[in-house]
Amino acid sequence: MKSIGILGTAKNTGKTTTTLYLLRQIEEQGEQAGITSIGLDGEEHDFVTRLPKPRMELPCGALVLTAERCLEQNEAKVEILERTGLRTSLGELLLLRVKESGRILVAGPHRKQLLEKALNYFSRWGTDVLLVDGALNRAVPMTVLDGVILTTGAALVPDVEGIVRHTSAIIDLFQLPMEEEFTAASTQPQVVFWDGEKAVLNLRSLLSEEYLPDFVAHINKPVRAITLPVVCAPKLVEKFLKLGGAHFTRSRLIFSDPFRMLAGGNPIEWDAVIQFHRQRGGQVRCFMQKPLHCITVNPFFPRYDPQTATYKPDRLDAVKLFSALRKAAMPLPVFDLHVEKNVDLWKICQGGEINES
């Protein structure tokens, strides 16, 4: 079974549209599709802007993992295959098979542990491809999946340059090389000096300045590598590097994975840290990486109208946005699925070449 996460840089960037696009292609290939979400998808209106959202209309035969309370708003005919015993705030997660196509509200496993267990359920029922729709500002559960698609667009920030900068920073995180020499010996950070000595830092996160002085106190000679398998705030990493001064020149920073990095802070801040360190001859690696298959872009954004105190749909220049992002992301493929109807997204996720339409 292959699992793909659809990760959004913000709400309304097209996660559900991308998911459904891919789902249609999987179905056309005759593969058994499964779908779930780490958030809540398929609602009729955005619960912040009240603007209409794309509905999760699932084809006959698809397997869905959703919370029991979502069935109250179900329009598709479904068969309950299994009650999983996995609990969410909307009730127990049920594995369903769609018997007659229709709209479904999908609220699936909301954390990593549950998503891991959910993979087993889908696999047991013969799923070939599992699509996991993402949720706002959350990425960490997707570490258990095989790969991700990133959706971005004007809803992140209604400015082409801003979108490109932010999205490029995320792409860079997913393109950090995997570490091959050092291993995460423990769950705590470890410093390896050039003279062969090692030190384990009693630190379970780097989210607060409070621990920086103790941390820096250990850096008393040139560092060869420092493993940071904990959640870190990028600005604190930068501060730490600056406090360590020359000892960090040409050293290797090794983080756990891009998802944990994103949880720790803004990708643009991470970009600044990475560039700072590279400029001093340093390297940045990750213990774990996941394939970022492609990017989809959505020029739509909700514009707030203060006069009516409501949100109204608006759009950036789609062509300008698309070409700027495509250029910045190259060679990673970028698509606007509202315009491009024949993208072989499924082939791309399998590692195939881009189907230029």
Partner: protein, 608 residues
Amino acid sequence: MKKVLLAALDPVHDNAVKLLNRKLSELGYQTIILPPGVHENEVIERAIREQPAAILISRTLGYQVAEILGRLVDLAEAAGLREHTLLGVGGMAITRELGAELGFDATFTGELDIEEVVAFIEGKHLAENRQKIRFRHEKPDITGGYTYQFKDARIEHLLDQITDQILEWVKGKTTPAIERAKIRLAFLQEEGGNFLDSNHKRAGEFLERYLKWCGPQVQAFYREGKLPEGVRRLNAAEVAKLMARLKQMDCDSPRLPPGGGKPLVFVQYGTGCPLMDSIHIKTVEAWGADGVLHFDPSWGAQQEGLLEGWLSHQHDGTILTLENLRLIRSAMQPTTLWNVRGHRGLNTPEVQILAATAGADLLKINIPYGATAGGSDPARLTVDGVYSLRLAAQYGLPFDIPGNDELSGVPPYKTFAGMLVMVMLGLKLGAKPIPKPLLCYSPYMQIEGQMEDNYVDMNTAKLAVWREIVDAPLWPGEPVGFMTHTADRIQSAVTTAAHVALAAGLGVDAVTMASSDEAYSKGAISAAARVDTLRAVRDMLRFMGNCRFQATPRAALIQEQLRNEVIAVLEKVAQRGDFVAAIHEGLFGNQQDGLYPGRVGRDTVMIA
């Protein structure tokens, strides 16, 4: 005990976490409370250090909610906390959908429910349509604990005289309603069900006997299938679909008086459609009502005989058929008390039978009121009423005695005199009466200027005089605050709530309230308006707690005056020696009071 980390991810609003802190500490939890405006990084840092069993977050302000809370959840996951720490969220900015999208393990909405929070912390699952706490374990007996001893010997003696005369007078008399009631009861006892669809081999025979005592409209219904204007049959599919849906709406809500206790709160219904009624009933149950009262259309009371089947009526009042009543009863929670109105008109005895068969808990019978403002012929209703009281006694169902003739302009002492007659009559026949003095701003009060300063003195006096006369339950209705409402829903909710609170402070056993758009409804009564009033009542009772309204010394003077005037009326009735004639002659309310003896059913009393 487990450790709980509390944080308001909000610049200023932290009342919820402070309240949680107190309540959880009282229960023995070790709580760590962070100051408002704390950053999500700080929450996670602290949680990494403390390793709590749960992190409870509140957020009130509505901007950046998703961004901040989503980030917190992802941080918690990235920090490895979610393997052993639960995440819960609540606050004004939070909905269940948002909580699910953000990935919290639980979302708390509405009023703080500490039981729900504790269950969450302990990892215990409360069922989806859970009964939080069983607030209502059984149906209360409104008459329980009352001796019905008369405390006023003079009044007791007068009532004794009057009711002896009534019982003597009705001997050997019958009416078409009584004959129909006997046939209906016999058919039901043979498990006949309804006349038209029954498989009972004698259904046709029973029906013919029944129709002999029915009026032309009812005969046309049974013989030709002719429905009255504005009435349609409900089909089985629509009934089944809605009833299945309604069953999912059961919820056990807390009672309106804080901490339970008196009074029981009833709501009247009668939209015309039993399915719509069921929705209204589910709504009021969800908002704390203890019971409901069925109101039927007035035209139904004016024709001899009752219809049958699931019938929906376009205008006010839901038609009394056994099928409609059973349908409505099936929608109710088992603990909801149910009163069916049948105190006037030509079908009173049969209504008691159908109501009891369908599962009613209370009946409604008042001869003086029904025979005047209710429009029924006094002789007819006296015979029917006494028979109905015997039925109530047989069924063991209490009956209430409405005092709504005050709304015609009758002074309260005359209304009370009539109600007292019904109390004594009921007791003599083995039934359990519940007087319902009306807390209202009646025409009499307005004309006489009796309630110019406040509504408290007169209503206090009314209830006090009853307490002075007899040890019986008291149930002001229908509804409290009558004629103090306007078309303004907020004003109506407020005045209703004030009257309920006044009555509650005076220790009444139950009250009936209407929806806040009912008194001046220019269209259908809305469920939303019902909720308005129930919420207002809840808050008012919460406001008052164990406090009471303080009447002025004038209330005591009014009370004494009422008592004396009640005695004066009863003396006249006793002296007259003829209860029916007393009604005709206006002793319980005359033309000047705006009351006329009823005419429906005139000359229909027969010798048995």
